[in-house]
């Protein structure tokens, strides 16, 4: 409303904090050391390396893609909630070309990961021979190239328009970004579904589920938003953004995070109920391996720590507005995203139970360090708020 503290809209007022440069260098150093260790691990145990690397790749992909999808959701709905974190989302979606580069090493490990990539097994198995039309290495690689082209393309176009908005303040730009975000979101959901089938579901080529893709997408939303909220909390703890962020902004992110957590649980339970009710021999194998064997503890942890606890913590108003409590939820969810990806990928490769290997941590830290470094570099390039967006004054005064 009028009469509240005047908010500055000068670009210089939202210069990125100096600490980002240190984050960029520090993350790069940590990432480089972990990458060297991972390479050593790859030389020692090739199979284990690719298993760990697949999960690490999917983890950082989910954060970058989740941010990109939330940015498109913000452009599509033109919600004021997104303006405060738009730069964070854009910086994360801008790293997608780097994530595409992270995908390349997996191409050298296809036979280690996927049964359909081992010619002798395909020859011996009628079902794999049947699936070979779709599940074969050249087609697999071209599909991945197409997914990344679409993801990077939309992120790139939207960032260009956003940069132009910073320069010119053209009032027609929000509408153009909206028109691009709409097909972008549809294509994202479709490509992410196919990507989940290619990269994760095909680890167990005898099992399929039609809701698997949206479960994967729901995980992206949680990972992207949790990450963006953590960065927003970091930015709000120091100048210049400490004056701009208010509890109500985090209240909005808390609500959205609660929605995503419930949505993710809804997809998870829908798949379980359908397969459990059908009780067909070829479908229940996936759950037998996860609910009855050594993975049952991980399944229980997902139910309690990925759904029940964040749900309860986010129910109360204070849980969403209080920076400390919200950051606990965001960190918990980011950890559980990693656990969830393990739970999705690895029972197909180590059915007896979770066997934590140091390479799991090393590959995740390696990709994470390099990724965070790129992210911090991109975030430091532009003012922390889209200063010429017509809705920014309203979003800043939101109370």
């Amino acid at each position: 409303m009028s009469g509240t503290a005047a908010v500055s809209l000068a670009p210089a007022a939202y210069a990125p904090p100096a600490g980002l440069a240190a984050v960029r260098r520090g993350a790069f150093a940590v990432g480089a050391v972990a990458a060297a260790l991972s390479l050593l691990g790859a030389w020692m145990d090739r199979g284990q390396f690719f298993r760990s690397y697949l999960v690490a790749f999917l983890y950082w992909l989910s954060i970058a893609l989740g941010c990109s999808a939330i940015a498109m959701l913000h452009h599509l709905t033109r919600g004021g909630w997104g303006l405060m974190i738009r730069r964070v989302l854009e910086a994360a979606s801008g790293t997608l070309p780097l994530v595409a580069l992270f995908f390349v090493p997996l191409l050298f490990g296809l036979p280690e990961l996927y049964r359909w990539a081992r010619p002798d097994e395909v020859q011996a198995d009628a079902l794999l021979r049947h699936q070979a039309v779709y599940l074969n290495a050249p087609f697999f690689i071209s599909r991945a190239a197409l997914y990344f082209a679409i993801w990077c393309g939309f992120a790139w176009v939207l960032q260009r328009l956003s940069a132009r908005q910073d320069a010119t303040g053209d009032p027609a730009l929000p509408r153009r970004m909206q028109m691009i975000a709409a097909p972008g979101l549809v294509l994202y959901c479709l490509t992410a579904t196919f990507a989940s089938i290619d990269w994760l579901m095909s680890l167990d080529s005898r099992w399929y589920s039609t809701i698997y893709g949206v479960y994967f997408v729901g995980g992206h939303a949680i990972a992207g938003l949790s990450f963006a909220v953590l960065v927003a909390l970091y930015l709000s703890s120091r100048g210049p953004m400490s004056a701009a962020f208010r509890p109500i902004h985090f209240h909005d992110y808390g609500k959205l995070l609660l929605t995503f957590v419930v949505l993710w649980a809804y997809f998870a339970v829908s798949q379980l109920i359908i397969i459990w009710s059908g009780n067909l021999a070829e479908e229940i194998t996936w759950y037998r391996g996860r609910l009855l064997g050594g993975w049952s503890g991980v399944s229980l942890a997902l139910v309690t720590l990925h759904f029940a606890l964040p749900f309860l913590l986010l129910l109360s108003r204070e849980g969403k507005r209080n920076a400390g409590r919200l950051s606990v939820v965001a960190i918990l969810l980011l950890v559980m995203r990693w656990v969830d990806l393990h739970w999705l990928a690895l029972p197909a490769l180590s059915p007896e139970g979770p066997a934590f290997h140091w390479l799991d941590a090393a590959t995740a830290i390696a990709l994470g360090g390099l990724w965070l470094s790129a992210f911090a570099g991109r975030l430091a390039r532009r003012p922390l708020l889209p200063i010429r967006d017509p809705f920014l004054p309203e979003a800043l005064a939101h109370d």
Partner: protein
């Protein structure tokens, strides 16, 4: 023969031209020690409830209680029917088959929480109220158009018809009215 009419006051009300004046007046009334305050505006005004010293709503707690009752009732109903009262062997599954019970448990959680939300809200805010003294002020109809009203109730321990009127007039309102029962 005329009997002097005893005027029972519900309170006194000041009329303001802008939400900003109303917020300032509400703050002044709070700092002057008035506690039984209410404000009437054509649209929600940010921070007004906090300025008036209104407690956070108790509706969220009622919703939570409703949700818990719904979840327990939903699960309990299915458990009692399927495992206690009329156990049936369905495809060899256990009588207490929790995955099958989730949808109904979920639905009843939402239903009872929703019912508690609506009726809890109505009980707590006293709606519907067919008669309310504030409508006895002729100007009050403007509260749904472009005027902002602050009312100090006579139940307030600090309320005094003479001094409260003086206090309200000191807030530069466009008018001060007695609110009669």
């Amino acid at each position: 023969m005329t009997r002097p009419r005893t005027v029972r006051l519900y309170g006194q009300m000041a009329e303001f031209a802008s939400p900003h004046d109303l917020l300032a007046a509400a703050g002044a009334a709070r700092s002057a020690g008035y506690r039984r305050l209410d404000a009437f505006t054509p649209f929600p005004i940010e921070r007004l409830s906090e300025t008036l010293g209104h407690r956070p709503s108790r509706v969220p707690m009622l919703v939570l209680i409703g949700g818990i009752i719904g979840a327990l009732a939903g699960y309990g109903l299915q458990y009692w029917v399927s495992a206690v009262a009329y156990p049936l062997n369905i495809g060899g599954r256990p009588y207490n088959s929790w995955p099958a019970f989730i949808p109904i448990t979920f639905e009843l959680t939402i239903l009872i929480a929703g019912i508690f939300t609506v009726f809890g809200m109505l009980v707590l805010n006293g709606l519907p109220t067919p008669y309310h003294p504030v409508f006895n002020v002729p100007h009050f109809a403007l509260a749904s158009r472009d005027r902002y009203f602050l009312c100090i109730e006579s139940k307030d321990p600090k309320f005094d018809p003479a001094s409260t009127r003086v206090f309200l007039e000191g807030l530069s309102p466009s008018g001060v009215f007695d609110v009669e029962y």
